[in-house]
């Protein structure tokens, strides 16, 4: 029995603790002090409280950069995980502020608390290298997200989407647990590094293959990679926009990070090779297949979408394909992956923000509802332009550099074995420009419908969107701001 | 004054004059007309100055100017005059004022019309004096553009097709020419005519082509023929040689009279000039290999065009074919020179006779044809655009002066002794008979046919019963007489005393034979 130093634990898990405490405070304040307050103000106060909590956690991480490994992988804090957690928290803040003008619920205390709780789950997910903690954190985050997805009080589609999300999620969690148990059984350890040491060697045990596949299925569901993406379009379209944005951004960032960790740390040495005609079983071919499927399915299905949020959902599936390339990039791919997932998070969050504003104004978020947005809301239109072009990978926006870095890393690590996949990815990104331009065409080219009453848009979401766009531009023009720390040895 | 760049001034005067005239604006077209005429006379005076200062005995390029122009392509601006050039420059300076006067009745956009005529003249001067392919080609093409617009905008009803045909055909030739010269540049890294001629004379050009071009598996000889063929095409279309002539009748017929004078009097000379200045010095060997087919072409041109002229019902078309026919003699002379059996001293005499004939024929034909077309123009103006062979008849009765003066031009054209045409054609045949007897003999047939159709022209138009329609036809006005008088006088003068002209070209001919022939 190893003695547990709880002070160490607290020291390393301080940011998580802060957020958790914040969630409780939010619930408490809401229950005790804000019952009688008018909804708008109440919403504002709670959201700000949530945001401040996350900000405090970030500040804590910045002020006390405690690094360490607690109990053999139970909690591993490295600069990289700090940054990823920072990213999760930043996205949480933006999500909270994005809800500033929303009216999909009256239970703001619960909403904010759940959001913070899911952030806690994601943070633990990022910083753990233990199978057990990973699974628990994943479930914590997922359960919160299921509820967040269902938070639309008067939209049955929201509940339906959440149910779908829940059912798929549970099944995949089952798969994942099965896979993790197999891993434990084969290696006798729950620590990823020890598992890697125990499993070492190029030979692939059939049971190990099963474990690998089931883990991939479980996490593939979280990252919405084809063919485990079926929940995504519905959830993205029907969930309250901020929830959807959080699911699409922060949850994805953390899930990708953990998938990368499980595979490259826990199964280092079992990469295999994914070259045509010279195939070697391992997780790289597995991911390559997933990535190829996601790229094709996501991009091709997005072309025919008429709803912008659904379109973003399919594009998210496609982007999962790009990010899988980063995982295949191994150690060198990790910074690229994190950079990509983070900037992708900001981008997609901003896009959801614009979509929700349009929905509030026009009453829908179909493509045609965006017609003439540039005449009505030039700033929002411009932000949407930035988001769409970044998603399409047009320089100098973050999406372009992200792709470039991912491809370079994947090619470098695999010594050009993955060239076919890179070519597919780049080719598909050319396809993707088509549907992103469809959105932009509505915004800039099509004249606005007549008779749309002018109404002020809430300033908080607007600020968030502009911030997100700025981030995308700045990180695109000066990627070194983030790279310097991500790629630091 | 001796170091003035006379040739450049000669070229620039009409060029600037042309732009000036065009810039006058539609409102002042009468002034434009006068200005154009004045400009052409200034140019004529300048030409006379140049010919006075020309040293006929030298035989080399005179009034030379040379300036570096495009260093990276080794292009120099290099001009010069020898007897051949002088003759053509003089002809140009003579015919242009005639053309301007013959177009005096044109009032629609007259400023543009006369401006274009002057530009055309500048192009011709440039072509006849350039010694570097680059700007030679520039002027060669420059002359094409005004000609195109002159035909296109002021021609007879079917002008559109004619102008296009003219332009495109000539461009076909030009492209061939361009390609050939580019190949030569690639082989020799020079565009300079004199340097190329030197290489051509030494036979180095053909070898250099073979060395650098290496086109599939063409032999040295075939390759040279192909390159020669490109250049040949350019000149053959311009002259034109049958079968490259199809653009000509329509063009000459549809162009306004003044322009037809320029076309036949001057622009067709560009082709022959090309043969003499470029093909002969650059490709002596190749041309000697090909003498027989070339001679066949020349004979074909002479005979077929005369035959075609005989069949024409339109006076302009008839003269157009006659023009082809006359230039055919020039080519006969040139090709015959190549057919010399050896370097026997006897053949040199024949050669120089033929070549002198060719040069003289250039001048004479320019003068005669332009005058003839001027007459047809007068007739057309009077008859409201009619110019059919059978539209007239008996005009001698109402317009005796017209008949008489035109008669002189017609006889000059068919080579009546005592007139200028006889001298040159006689010289050509005198040289060609010993050198290429069969070709010369066949060509005599052309001479015969020419006489037939020209006499028929005179007969149908001026003799016979007077066509009632033309009872009121006016005789030549004073202005018209003034226009045709100088060339007619020149025709007579050269006919009886060709010595000065022969002297001017003699040294050049000798040099050409020594160098290239």
């Amino acid at each position: 029995m190893i003695p547990v130093n709880y002070l160490d634990l607290l020291r390393l898990a301080a940011p998580e603790t802060v957020v958790l405490a914040g969630a409780l405070v939010v619930l408490g304040v809401d229950l005790l002090a804000l019952r009688e307050v008018e909804t708008g103000l109440r919403r504002l106060l709670l959201l700000i409280l949530g945001a401040v909590t996350c900000g405090a956690a970030i500040a804590w991480m910045a002020a006390f950069p405690n690094l360490g490994n607690f109990m053999q992988g139970m909690l591993v804090v490295t600069p990289l995980t700090q940054w990823v957690k920072g990213g999760v928290l930043a996205l949480a803040i933006l999500t909270l502020l994005l809800s500033g003008g929303a009216s999909f619920t009256n239970h703001w205390g619960e909403y904010v608390a759940l959001l913070l709780l899911s952030a806690v789950g994601l943070m633990f997910l990022v910083s753990s290298e233990s199978l057990l903690v990973i699974f628990i954190a994943l479930e914590l985050a997922s359960l919160s997200l299921y509820i967040l997805a269902a938070f639309h009080h008067d939209a049955p589609e929201s509940a339906e989407a959440a149910l779908k999300y829940f059912l798929f999620g549970s099944v995949s969690a089952g798969f994942m647990l099965f896979g993790l148990s197999l891993l434990y059984g084969l290696s006798g350890s729950i620590d990823l590094r020890e598992i890697a040491a125990a499993l070492g060697g190029p030979f692939l045990d059939p049971l190990l293959a099963v474990a690998m596949v089931t883990v991939a299925v479980g996490l593939g569901f979280k990252i919405a990679a084809a063919p485990f993406h079926l929940w995504a379009p519905d959830v993205y379209q029907a969930a309250p926009p901020p929830s959807a944005a959080f699911i699409a951004s922060a949850s994805k960032l953390a899930s990708f990070f953990v998938l990368a960790k499980v595979l490259s740390v826990g199964m280092g040495g079992l990469e295999g090779r994914a070259v045509f005609g010279d195939y070697l079983p391992g997780w790289v071919p597995l991911l390559a297949a997933l990535a190829a499927a996601s790229l094709l399915w996501g991009n091709l299905a997005a072309i025919v979408q008429t709803n912008v949020r659904r379109l973003i959902a399919y594009s998210a599936i496609a982007h999962a394909g790009y990010m899988l390339l980063g995982i295949m990039g191994g150690k060198a791919g990790l910074p690229a992956l994190v950079y990509y997932a983070m900037t992708y998070g900001f981008t997609t969050l901003g896009a959801f923000g614009v979509a929700s504003l349009v929905r509030d104004r026009v009453g829908g978020d179909n493509l045609s509802d965006f017609a003439g947005l540039s005449r009505r809301e030039p700033w929002m239109a411009f932000c949407m332009l930035v988001f769409m072009l970044s998603l399409a990978g047009i320089p100098p926006l973050a999406g372009f550099f992200g792709k470039f870095y991912l491809f370079a890393a994947a090619l470098k690590t695999s010594s050009l074995d993955l060239l076919w996949l890179v070519i597919l990815a780049i080719g598909m990104s050319a396809v993707s420009l088509y549907y992103y331009l469809q959105v932009l065409k509505q915004i800039y080219v099509v004249p606005p419908p007549s008779g749309l009453a002018a109404a002020p848009i809430p300033s908080l979401p607007k600020t968030v969107i502009i911030l997100a766009a700025l981030t995308v531009i700045v990180l695109g023009c000066a990627p070194n701001l983030l790279l310097r720390v991500l790629a630091a040895p | 004054m001796s170091d003035l760049p006379l040739i450049t001034i000669l070229t620039l005067t009409p060029l600037l004059g042309g732009f000036l005239v065009m810039g006058l604006g539609a409102g002042r077209w009468p002034l434009a007309r006068w200005l154009a005429l004045a400009c052409s006379f200034v140019v004529l005076a300048l030409c006379l100055v140049i010919s006075a200062r020309f040293d006929p005995a030298a035989g080399v390029m005179q009034f030379g100017e040379r300036h570096q122009w495009i260093a990276s392509l080794a292009v120099d601006y290099r001009v010069g005059l020898d007897g051949l050039s002088l003759l053509l420059v003089l002809l140009t300076a003579l015919v242009t004022p005639m053309a301007i006067l013959a177009s005096w009745h044109i009032e629609r956009q007259a400023q543009i019309y006369h401006g274009l005529v002057l530009l055309l003249q500048a192009g011709l001067f440039g072509t006849f004096t350039a010694l570097n392919f680059f700007h030679w080609f520039l002027f060669w093409e420059l002359s094409l553009v005004p000609a195109f617009f002159l035909i296109r905008l002021w021609g007879s009803p079917a002008r559109s097709a004619a102008a296009t045909q003219f332009f495109v055909y000539t461009m076909v030739g030009s492209v061939g020419l361009l390609l050939a010269f580019l190949a030569m540049f690639l082989a020799t890294r020079t565009f300079d005519f004199l340097e190329l001629a030197k290489l051509g004379r030494e036979g180095a050009l053909v070898q250099a082509l073979a060395d650098t071009l290496g086109w599939r598996d063409l032999t040295v000889r075939r390759l040279a023929v192909v390159i020669f063929g490109g250049a040949f095409l350019g000149f053959a279309v311009k002259v034109p040689l049958i079968p490259f002539h199809t653009w000509l009748p329509a063009t000459y017929a549809e162009a306004p009279t003044g322009v037809t004078m320029l076309l036949t009097g001057l622009m067709s000379k560009m082709g022959v000039y090309g043969f003499l200045r470029i093909l002969l010095p650059l490709f002596p060997e190749v041309m000697r290999w090909l003498t027989t087919p070339l001679l066949v072409l020349a004979v074909l041109t002479i005979v077929a065009s005369a035959g075609a002229a005989l069949a024409q019902r339109d006076l302009k078309r008839m003269l157009a074919y006659s023009s082809i026919n006359h230039l055919g003699y020039c080519l006969l002379g040139i090709f015959a020179v190549l057919n010399s059996p050896g370097s026997a001293s006897g053949s040199l005499t024949h050669q120089s006779a033929a070549l002198s004939g060719v040069l003289l024929q250039l001048f004479n034909h320019g003068l005669t044809a332009a005058t003839l077309f001027a007459f047809i123009g007068f007739l057309e103006n009077r008859a409201g655009g009619r110019r059919g062979l059978d539209d007239f008849g008996g005009l001698r009765k109402v317009a005796p002066v017209f008949c008489g003066l035109m008669g002189i031009a017609v006889f000059s054209s068919l080579g009546l002794p005592g007139l200028n045409g006889f001298i040159s054609e006689f010289l050509i045949f005198q040289g060609a008979f010993p050198l290429a007897p069969w070709a010369a003999s066949f060509s005599l047939l052309g001479l015969l046919l020419t006489a037939v159709f020209l006499l028929r022209l005179l007969q149908r138009v001026f003799y016979g019963p007077l066509n009632e329609k033309w009872v009121a036809l006016a005789d030549l006005s004073v202005g018209e007489r003034a226009l045709v008088a100088p060339p007619l006088i020149l025709m007579l003068l050269i006919g009886v005393y060709p010595q000065p002209l022969l002297a001017a070209v003699n040294a050049t001919v000798i040099r050409m034979l020594e160098g290239g022939g």
Partner: protein, 518 residues
């Protein structure tokens, strides 16, 4: 200072975006100011630089993790093309002075495009080059989709997708080259000096070359060009044909050929007489020359004639590149310049002078109008532009085509002859368009109103429609600017040749030298 061409354009574009919407006149003058600034900067940089020198304008470490620099520089080729961009930009603004629909955004996008183009020509780090290359795609889309005419949305999308697919191919090649060279540099000089394995070059070269050549209108990837040019508003077609197509050709030369020179070497086997990628592309280039010309010959829409003529003319550029002779390459660069000027002029006449006034571009409709009467200035301009376009000596196109042909004689004599035929086709369609659009007869009343109907069309025949709006001052200035540029270069080509020619001595062309570059 040269870098300010980029910043000035992009900065003004941003400024215009922020300008209040009603300040339309300000927008025009601001845009013109920025373009003029760019022209002055580029011209002074060109004429002050010593021929043959390369100079670095700015070099900063940008993304040190990947060894990517912000490296702007200029050699003679860049300078010439930057100068062209400056000219085309000014002319384009002059010819779109009358834009009334969302002018602020129009000029903003226009300048953004110009800024991207400047950037491409000045980038000597391939990552940066690619960034600018892609920046240019999006404004094109909007310029056509918002302000265009015939089937604009289709054309805009087609153009955007073609460009993007092309750049995707380039990206594959660049990423692969980057990784192959160690992943530590994207500098052009370093990558060009790196000897990539032959097998790699053999597939990377065609990939990158075609990727760029899509934008240069390489047959059979040219189909975006005619539709795009036709649909685009005048200024955009001027830029598209004038400058953007040059981006593609520039990329072929600057990136594909310098990085992967061995890709031009023979494959080692022959099929139908084709033994290398070089043969393939030379053949495609000549096919483009002929095909573009032939198709232009049968077009009914005036602008389509010009659109296809661009395809034909860009064939000369690509053929010049494939000759691998210094003279051919020089000719290719000069042809880029020349075509940029001339195509701009042609589009200006068709789009602005003619279409904006008579509202038709159909040659059959234009024929009875006999526009040489109504619009004499347009007629003269178009005549000169046509003459320049068909390669008449004295205009810039002639010197360029001449050099390309000399190079072609050396490398591909047969193709040189075919190219000659292409010139003839060019003459044919040029004359056809000229005659049908401007000089067609109005049979009944040709001679009736014989005199006095030249300038300003005071003497319209009674049955004719209302007098056409006279050619405005900006249009005159723009036309004269472009004609003067073409003539100046045509008459004194050393003006540009002395900068272009020594540029090929630069170390990054070393790889080509084995292939025939002396």
């Amino acid at each position: 200072m040269l870098a300010w061409t980029i910043y000035l354009s992009l900065g003004t574009a941003l400024l215009l975006m922020l300008l209040p919407e009603r300040r339309e006149q300000w927008a025009r003058f601001l845009a013109l100011g920025a373009a003029l600034g760019g022209l002055v900067l580029s011209a002074s940089a060109l004429f002050q630089s010593a021929p043959g020198s390369f100079r670095t304008v700015t070099r900063l470490s940008w993304i040190p993790t990947l060894g990517i620099d912000y490296h702007l520089g200029a050699d003679g080729i860049s300078l010439v093309l930057v100068f062209l961009t400056g000219l085309a930009a000014v002319a384009g603004i002059l010819f779109s002075w009358n834009i009334g629909h969302r002018p602020r955004e129009f000029f903003a996008l226009y300048l953004a495009l110009i800024g991207g183009v400047y950037g491409v020509f000045l980038s000597f780090d391939l990552f940066l080059l690619f960034v600018f290359y892609e920046i240019a795609i999006i404004p094109k889309y909007f310029l056509i989709a918002i302000w265009g005419s015939t089937r604009r949305e289709y054309a805009a999308m087609k153009l955007a997708l073609y460009s993007f697919v092309g750049s995707a191919m380039v990206l594959v090649g660049l990423v692969a080259a980057f990784v192959f060279a160690g992943g530590q540099t994207m500098s052009l000089a370093d990558l060009a000096a790196h000897r990539f394995p032959r097998e790699f070059q053999m597939w990377a070269f065609p990939l990158v070359f075609v990727g760029f050549a899509v934008l240069a209108g390489l047959w059979p990837f040219h189909t975006w060009a005619p539709t795009g040019h036709v649909a685009a508003p005048t200024a955009a077609s001027m830029l598209l044909a004038g400058v953007v197509m040059k981006l593609g050709a520039y990329g072929c030369l600057r990136v594909a050929m310098t990085l992967f020179p061995e890709g031009l070497q023979p494959w080692g086997f022959e099929w139908l007489g084709i033994g290398s990628w070089r043969d393939v592309f030379a053949l495609l280039a000549v096919t483009g020359i002929l095909y573009g010309g032939m198709v232009a010959l049968v077009q009914k829409d005036f602008k389509f004639v010009i659109g296809y003529s661009s395809v034909s003319h860009m064939g000369f550029v690509l053929l010049g590149l494939m000759t691998l002779q210094t003279i051919g390459l020089t000719g290719a660069v000069l042809q880029m310049f020349s075509h940029g000027i001339v195509a701009g002029l042609l589009f200006a006449v068709v789009g602005r002078m003619v279409y904006d006034r008579v509202h038709t571009r159909h040659l059959d409709d234009l024929q009875p109008m006999n526009l040489s009467r109504g619009l004499p200035f347009a007629a003269v301009t178009f005549t000169l532009a046509t003459l320049a376009s068909i390669g008449l000596p004295g205009f810039s196109g002639f010197v360029a085509e001449l050099q390309v042909l000399i190079g072609a004689w050396h490398a591909y004599p047969t193709l040189a002859v075919l190219t000659g035929a292409g010139i003839l086709v060019g003459v044919a369609y040029g004359l056809r368009a000229l005659q049908r659009a401007f000089f067609a007869e109005r049979r009944s009343c040709t001679d009736g109103q014989a005199s006095g109907s030249a300038r300003g069309a005071p003497a319209q025949p009674p049955d004719s429609p209302a007098p056409l709006e006279p050619i405005s001052f900006p249009e005159r200035v723009g036309s004269i600017l472009l004609i003067a540029a073409s003539l100046a270069v045509g008459l004194y080509p050393d003006l540009l040749l002395k900068y272009i020619l020594p540029s090929f001595n630069a170390p990054w062309f070393d790889g080509l030298r084995g292939g025939g570059l002396p």
